[in-house]
């Protein structure tokens, strides 16, 4: 046979089996598993950190005598230097810019998704999809530049310089729509693709046209996935920062006119922290309070979208 008899090694070259099937101590396996568990658990700390820090500083904010919760939630003026802390102007501008963004992103994104999933040949799809992905990968600050340097001048030349302010919600919202378009398109396309072939074939077999199959069979079947895509899009719009910081304005403004400047929640946080913020000042605490509101809005939207996606999966898998 092979191998010479050596200490602890049997004739075949393998270590002698002393302990039968008994478990051998495998210390490194245990250590590795613990390290990996820590890595997996780590993200819980991030969440706890977010909730704890936002909560703690926000609490300090609400404890200061100048602030009360009712005025915070219903006040229409945010002027920290004269102790007015009503979050509504920040919230309305956030929702106006997001609404403008979604009126761009939803129809265009869904149409692009239907085109890519139902109409485009494999070759066209392989060219167009990466382009949309590139669009999604461009840093938002670049979109901010684009909004300020291209879209704003364009709007001003169309609607008149005295109608459209240099910093305005429309420009930021439109560009944000372009930013979110690829996200909505690619998530919706995934949902459309997940609709089983058999369903399409059934409809074609009845003599439906391509459009009828796409709009009346596939689209409704993918509706929950599409809804999830839209909600994620909204959440993204609400949290988007650099476009609004560059193009929308530098002061809170309670207005519903999209051509006027205003400041969103994110834009305000960026402007406040851009200066040297001293710890424990009311300004410092206020950005945590705004951050907390932002966090809960986006978290709620994300949870809803995940719920929808999960239900959707159960139907088709």
């Amino acid at each position: 046979m092979i191998g010479k008899q050596r200490n602890g090694v049997d004739a075949s070259g393998y270590p002698l089996r002393k302990e039968g099937l008994r478990k051998r101590p495998r210390v490194n396996e245990v250590i590795i598993q613990s390290v990996l568990f820590f890595a997996g658990f780590f993200s819980i700390f991030t969440t706890l950190g977010i909730v704890y820090e936002l909560g703690k500083e926000a609490l300090l904010f609400f404890r200061t005598p100048e602030v009360n919760l009712w005025n915070f939630l219903t006040g229409t003026s945010w002027q920290p230097h004269i102790n007015q802390f009503g979050i509504l102007p920040l919230v309305t501008s956030t929702f106006i810019t997001s609404a403008i963004a979604m009126t761009i992103a939803i129809p265009l994104g869904l149409a692009a998704a239907v085109y890519l999933s139902e109409y485009a040949t494999e070759k066209v799809r392989k060219t167009l999809k990466p382009i949309l992905e590139v669009l999604a990968g461009i840093p938002t600050i670049v979109y901010g530049y684009f909004a300020l340097m291209f879209v704003t001048p364009l709007l001003r030349s169309i609607f008149g310089r005295d109608v459209v302010e240099i910093y305005n919600m429309a420009s930021g919202g439109l560009v944000m729509g372009v930013l979110i378009l690829p996200l909505v398109a690619s998530m919706s396309e995934d949902a459309l693709n997940a609709v089983p072939r058999a369903l399409r074939e059934a409809a074609y077999g009845l003599g439906a046209t391509k459009l009828e199959v796409a709009l009346k069979v596939v689209f409704p079947a993918a509706l929950s996935g599409i809804a999830a895509a839209i909600i994620v899009g909204i959440s993204r719009a609400v949290g988007e920062t650099m476009i609004v910081a560059v193009a929308v304005g530098a002061g809170p403004n309670f207005t519903f006119n999209p051509f006027r400047g205003a400041e969103t929640m994110t834009g305000h946080i960026v402007r406040m922290s851009g200066g040297d913020l001293s710890y424990d000042s009311i300004d410092y605490n206020s950005i945590f309070a705004i951050g907390l509101v932002l966090f809960f809005i986006t978290l709620t939207l994300n949870i809803i979208s995940q719920r929808i996606v999960r239900r959707f999966r159960e139907v088709y898998e």
Binding site: I2, V9, Y14, P15, L21, K23
Partner: protein, 262 residues
Amino acid sequence: MDTLDNNRYVIQARNLGIYYGDFKAVTDVNMDIERNKITAIIGPSGCGKSTLLRAFNRMNELVPGSRAEGQVFFDGEDLYAKGVDPVEVRHRIGMVFQKPNPFPKSIYENIAWGARIHGYRGNMDELVERSLRQAALWDEVKDILHRSGLALSGGQQQRLCIARAIAVQPEVILMDEPASALDPIATLKIEELMQDLKKDYTIVIVTHNMQQAARVSDYTAMMMLVNDGSRSGTVIEFGETTKIFTRPSDKRTEDYVTGRFG
């Protein structure tokens, strides 16, 4: 309960039941697997053949929520006793799968890797050659040992998987429909190979092909769903292959082997 004889029998299952969650896939199996013999497990699809086979080296544990009750004695030691290391179990009781699954590494590495993790300190080249020879693959691959295992044909891949299992020197090799993905010629080669391997190893094979079971095995276990609506399977008849195929004692076995089964 009958007595354990671990000189004659390498694996002895006692009241073995296997659950996936609340579903009991296999129930109440008692069978003794004789050393250096080939034992076939046959039966209609979905009756738990693969599940039973995997219970013999605790591979079924990889399915989340699965558990076993009863005992499986291997050389007299209960595989499911506390403190038994499933890793060690799988070292001693190897497995060949339905679909050939070589590692995406070289042919040589496919065999050497297993030996290395088990602390093999002999001559690796010799071991690789010997394992490939035993698997009747050496002549076909001796010049391409450093090519990827995935470059081989399906039948060659399956023999490579057998060589890989042999290389760690198990006592038992479990084969889960090893030829079902292969063409007839490759199947024939695997069957011949099994006859050669029987000298050194005990083989348990699951097959849905009754002719194959009749051709290769010494013993045959017939599995069926228990007739109580629970959808769990059990061994309804176990004995020498010639007897099972010529004079079955159970009517259901007779129906199945003669092709009268639904």
